[in-house]
Structure formats: structure tokens, C-alpha cells
Symmetry: C2
């Protein structure tokens, strides 16, 4: 290999982990202290607490509150190198990961690259309706939302003004529902006194779902109570509504056409490049089909976990949630340790569902713990506590708590920044 | 005028304020409750607490901590409209301010657009050595600093690695000194354990000043003690060193050439477009020469304040600091109120210097209150209290305090995000 290399402990097996999300980071942390040389590769320098990314997109939190430098998390883990780099491919015969200018050898490879949004064979929709996966996505959406209202304030044509004040969210899974609730609060409460020529109360928020109900991964009664709460917040929920076309400022649903200033995409996801790298079997969403030990058929030493993997348990595919990624990460780390110490793990991976939570607005959440189900204010307190607890570092916990307490009692949202990248040039002011 | 207009209180005089910095915001706030119709125009949607911007550039604070939405600040001030727009020019004969698609009539106009960096007739240097004026500037610099070290970690050529680990700051005024101190702490303390192939301790930080000493606006003994503190922090201070040429990766100072990964510009400033808009007299830095009441000769109803104005007092031009802008803003507001109520203010503007502070690193500051001068840890505590106090809103104060306390005791810096704008395309990973 060329320039870059690990220079300590030359005889230990090499573990390469791609992706520092919940899954990848679990693998690395469990392998702390083991006799392996780990290289963690991520295209970003930070681990992102994605469950709260919608709060950044709606100006409730600031990007740094939910992102933590990967190097910082692992600074005391001597057996681990962190590389900020983009992976170009994998040579699974000779066991190399290709970067732009380098290649990294591996004995074990864990692919935990996550998912991105699926525009159903319409890649041109992505620029019209950004999804919510990265910090940039979140600040782009925040800018679109706030800037639409700024333009509406200056607009004299009532038709255009009405369009600018219409927000459409496509897809009513947890992210779509959380976004819709948060935008409703931002417009109908936080910004109430801020404008002189428009009334933020008249902002329309449409949540569009192709399926028959919102939050379809939850039981029917919980999804109904979430729907009622959205209604109270002033969100119009449209089910059985599949987007047939998107063009700038216009969402088409069959015959119906909606003029709007902002469209946000929270519909289907796809598993990314892992299937192409490995030339292995994928499901229809592009996720790599893995064996019971999360390894890949005919690709020795390779594991795929989290949103990138297709794993079936009791006839159902595991959902793309943090819990699954974390448990799979732990399992793979144990599996690798077993291989290294000649004490192989025999049991297949088994996912233990600890429950499912979603929040709607600032004081309502739903929870499904199998037998036990709940919704309302206390569930929201639970949602809140769990999210604070899982935030990776202590400082973020305090910062997020301060901001939430502040926002809760004042309805203010501090992170209402419209920032422009230097390269943008034309600002259309 | 076209579309946009104020629709209340049609008979009240119209005051247009351009720029929502310290100066512009002072004017508007003092005129609260007066019988005037105010329009505050800014190209951004937020007021920025610029004295702490260097903390964002060095990952100590996050952008939202020091920025506050203008609408939010003025939401209860009924006589004021906020416009997020770029000003194209001024028709000072017929009294209009031109926006891209609109024009706004005025009876009184206050120009408080601030300053930007002056590249001494080398506009091409701006992309090589960004200055520090906006949130985007700060996140660009933060990205450059952090990304240089990421690249150094992966670089095998010792020459290139050494260059990537060299940071040059041009200009040793308060901003340059604060940046140099903060980068030294970031590299030599915060990141100490984060890398495996480079030693952050060996990061070189050069502070380059064309004049004979750093912080030339302070007394000699204070500037010397600041210089010593920088030395202790590991900053190399070069005085009598004027940049003769800049190209990507290379700073030339006369015969000497320094290879470096990051250059930050903190040298001279210029007053911006106001002189061109008004076709009026400017000084050699492009600042508009104003009369004793801060109005402009032959431009009825027009005032220029803050960094955009050239005002002499006791034979000296007032410096471009927040204090001057705030006091001038208060004066102009009173002056306008006097004109409107037929009770004109006769006294000329007089600046009361409340003192001058600058900080070097995390526990040293210098203060010059005329007779009383001090430096050291207690001065730093004073600097700290004043900056917290002047932060515009309560939430920011708590957030900044939490982060500073955290950083102080742990040496961590939470805001170490490398974010890329979507449009950037080539990331060079």
C-alpha cells in the first residue's frame, strides 16, 4: 500500500470499519483493548445523533449540539485510527478498501454506511426536495423554511405569498411526522410576532403519505392519536397520496397540484453503495442481504450492519433504526473477537426490540413496547429522557437540555440562522 | 414604489436603517415607541455578536450561540419592519434605497453596513486567505483548520505534512491575536490525543504583522505582555513583516516564503459600498467622512455610523469597535427624534471611550482604561464577564457560559465540525 499506514502492533489482525454512525461506532468501541488494529473511515469528521436531526432542520438545536468529533470519542482508544475519507470501493478478493488516493488492507471489514433517501428513480427530485440525513441537509432545509417566510413577507402577490407559506413533507414515517410537528410549532407559535405583512398562523403544512396511515410501523391506535395531535397543531395529513411529479414550487399528487415554497423528502430509503462494492445480493431497496451472523455469502471477513443490511428475523426485515444498528455492531465486534481468539461465536444474531418511540410536537409522543403502549405528555417526557441519555457526550446533554427547557417555556427557537455557503453566489434577495 | 410597503401609520416619517450590527440595532431600539416608521434592512436574518466570532472559527462556540434572529430581537417593536435584502444603491436626491426588485422611500437614512477586509488591491487573495466577518467566514476557517490536520494525518510526505500543519494569521490586531491564541490552544491542548500519525504539539502558528508591534492600539507594555503570552502558547510572532504575495499554500514576506496549509486574513479593513452609494467624500480606507452630527455633507437626511464612517475626535479617527457604533447609533436616534419633534439636537457627537480589551488564549487578557491598565487572569475574567453581559439574549448567555466552563476545565471544544456546503462538489478527500 502507499503512503498512509498503521505503524504499531504490525502482527495484530486489521479491522476496517466504514461509517461512524451508531453501528460502526458500536463495533469499534466494543473492540477497545482487543489485540486488533482498527481503522474507522467516515466521510465526515463527526458522529451524528440522527434522531434529533429534525430539530436542527427546524431551528430548535444547533448542528454542534448533536454532532461529536469522531476523533474525540475515540481519542483514548489506542488500537484505533480514524480516517476522514471517502471510500471508492472494495477489493474483496485481495481484501483492500479503496480510498481516493490510497488503499487500506483488512482482515475483517465492517460496512456500516447507513442509508440515504430513495427518490423512486427520480434523482432530479433530490435538489427540489432535500432529504434529512446530514448536517448539511438539515441546514439546507432550515434555510429553505426560514427563507420562504422572508420572501413571503416581501411578496405582494397573494398567490405567490400563499405558495411561499405552504410547506409539504413527503412521507409520514417518524422523521416526516417529527418534521411536520416541529414546522407547525415554529410557524404557528415561535414566529407569531416576528412578521408585519404575513400572519405565520396561516402557514400551511401538508404531510403526504402514500400508504393508508401515518407511522405505519406503530399500532393503529397510536398512529391515530398521533394523527389527531398533528391536526391540533395545524398540520393537514393526506394519506393514500403518492407524489406523481415534483417540479420547483409544485407537488403533483395524481390530478391534484399543490403550489408550495418548500418540499421536504422523508419517504423511502436506499442502502447505498455497499451492494455495488461487494457485487453481492441486495434487496429491492439496495440493502445487502446478510447471513445469520451478519457476514456476506462468499465475501470472507466482510460484515454489513445497520441500515445498509437486509436481515430477516421471524419473517420480517429489521427496520432501519438506531437500536438495530447498535445491537448488530455489538454482535459483529464479539464475532470478530471470537475469530481472532479462536473462540468463534456460534449463536446467530438476534435482535431484541426494546420499543419504538416517536414524537409529535413539543409535548406529545407515542411509545410501543409490545404489550405496553402509551401516548401523551408522559410518553413525551420519556422520549425526552431517552434522547438526552443517548446523546454521546456530556456537554451536548447539558446544551440540549438548556435549549429544550428554554424553548419549552418561551416557545423561542434560538437556531434560526439563514447561512449561505460562500460558493452560492446568487442569493436571490 | 412597487409591491412591498408599510401599511400602518402612513403619515409618520420614514426611517430606513441599513445594517443590523451594533450600530444599526442601537438606532432602531432607541427609536422604539417613537412616531416614526422604521425599516431595518440586512442581508442576513441575524444580528451577529462579532467579538466572539473568532470562537466559532476555532470551534469553541457554535454559530447559533452568537447570532440572534433580527426579527426576534424586534418582534415587540411595532413601529419597525425587518427586511432581509441586499441593498443595491441609494437615490439621495429623491430619497430612495434600492433593493434588487424594489425601492424603499426614506425621510431619514442611517447607513451602518460595517466594514470588510481590505486585501490591499489584491482581491484574488480573499479566496486564499479568508477574513473573519460573517458566520460563513467563521465556518469556512474552522473547516480549513480542522481539514488541514485531517489531511496531515493521512500524508506520508514530511514536507507536505509540515506545510499542512502550519497556520499563518496575517494581521496582529485584536482579531488576529485572538485567532492565534485560540488556534494554539486547539492544536496544542484540545487535539493532543486525537491523532495517531501527527503530533498536534508540533503545529506551527505564525502571527504576521506589518507594523512594529502587535495590538498597536494598546499601550506598549500591554502589547508586550500579550506578545509574551502568545509565545508561551507556542505562537511565533513576526513583526515588521508585510505580506508581499499570497498563492495557495504559500505566503511570501519579502524574500522569505512560508509553506502553509491555512492562511487567515485579519489585516486592514475597508468601509464598503456606502461611499459609492452616496457619491460622497471617503477616506483612504473607503469610509464615509461624516460631519459632527454624523450626517453627510450635501446628502440631506443621511447619517453614516460605525465602521462605515470616518469621524475625527481630538485629531484622531475613531476606531472600528462596537462601542463607537453603539454610541453613534444612540446619538443618531436622538438626532432623528429631535428632527421629528422639532426639537433638534445641537451638541455634536462625542465618543466616550469606556476602555479597550483583548484576550490571548484561555486565561489571559489585557485591558486599557486610560489611567488604569491591567493584564493577566483577573483581566481575562473581566473580559469574560463583559462579553457574556453584552450577548444579546439570555439563552445565548447560558449556552456560552456552559460551553466556556466546559472548555475551560476539560480543554475540549465541542464545535469541531467540518461541514460542506452541498454545492461544493469536489471535496478532495
Amino acid at each position: 500500500m502507499t503512503g498512509w499506514h498503521q505503524d504499531t502492533n504490525e502482527s495484530a489482525p486489521r479491522v476496517v470499519v466504514i461509517g461512524a454512525g451508531f453501528g460502526g461506532l458500536s463495533v469499534v468501541r466494543v473492540l477497545r483493548g482487543e489485540n486488533v488494529r482498527i481503522t474507522l473511515i467516515d466521510r465526515n469528521n463527526h458522529h451524528l445523533f440522527q434522531p434529533l436531526l429534525y430539530q436542527v432542520a427546524t431551528a430548535g438545536l444547533s448542528p454542534t449540539d448533536i454532532a461529536c468529533p469522531i476523533r474525540n470519542i475515540l481519542r483514548r482508544q489506542a488500537n484505533t485510527d480514524v480516517l476522514m475519507a471517502e471510500v471508492d470501493g472494495v477489493d474483496w478478493v485481495n481484501r483492500y478498501v479503496f480510498l481516493k488516493k490510497d488503499r487500506i488492507p483488512y482482515d475483517f471489514l465492517v460496512i456500516a454506511t447507513g442509508s440515504h433517501y430513495n427518490y423512486f428513480a427520480h434523482p432530479e427530485w433530490e435538489s427540489i426536495a432535500p432529504g434529512l440525513k446530514t448536517i448539511s441537509d438539515a441546514t439546507t432545509i432550515r434555510r429553505n423554511i426560514l427563507f420562504s417566510l422572508e420572501k413571503a413577507e416581501m411578496e405582494s402577490d397573494p398567490e405567490i405569498r400563499r405558495a411561499l407559506m405552504t410547506f409539504v413533507i413527503v412521507g409520514a414515517g417518524p422523521t416526516g411526522v417529527e418534521m411536520a410537528g416541529a414546522i407547525a410549532e415554529l410557524a404557528h407559535r415561535t414566529l407569531l410576532l416576528d412578521f408585519r405583512h404575513i400572519d405565520p398562523k396561516s402557514v400551511r403544512i401538508l404531510l403526504i403519505e402514500a400508504g393508508e396511515r401515518i407511522l405505519s410501523s406503530f399500532p393503529v391506535n397510536l398512529s391515530e392519536s398521533a394523527s389527531k395531535t398533528l391536526c391540533k397543531l395545524g398540520v393537514e395529513v393526506l394519506t393514500h397520496a403518492a407524489v406523481s411529479n415534483l417540479s420547483p414550487g409544485i407537488v403533483e399528487i395524481g390530478e391534484r397540484s399543490i403550489s408550495c415554497g418548500t418540499v421536504i423528502w422523508a419517504a423511502g430509503i436506499t442502502g447505498g453503495s455497499a451492494g455495488r462494492w461487494l457485487q453481492s445480493e441486495t434487496d429491492r431497496l439496495g440493502r445487502v442481504v446478510v447471513k445469520h451472523d451478519l457476514s456476506v455469502e462468499g465475501r470472507p471477513g466482510v460484515y454489513v450492519i445497520g441500515d445498509t443490511a437486509h436481515f430477516e428475523q421471524n419473517g420480517k426485515t429489521l427496520p432501519g433504526v438506531a437500536q438495530v444498528a447498535i445491537q448488530q455492531g455489538h454482535y459483529v465486534a464479539r464475532h470478530i473477537r471470537g475469530e481472532v481468539t479462536n473462540n468463534p461465536v456460534k449463536d446467530p444474531f438476534h435482535y431484541t426490540d426494546k420499543g419504538n418511540l416517536a414524537t409529535v410536537g413539543r409535548s406529545f409522543a407515542i411509545a410501543d413496547f409490545g404489550k405496553y403502549r402509551s401516548s401523551g405528555f408522559l410518553t413525551w417526557i420519556l422520549w425526552w429522557m431517552i434522547h438526552i441519555w443517548y446523546l454521546i457526550d456530556f456537554q451536548s446533554r447539558i446544551l440540549v437540555m438548556v435549549q429544550w427547557a428554554w424553548a419549552y417555556f418561551t416557545f423561542k427557537r434560538g437556531a434560526r440562522l439563514i447561512t449561505f455557503a460562500d460558493c452560492e453566489g446568487e442569493k436571490d434577495l
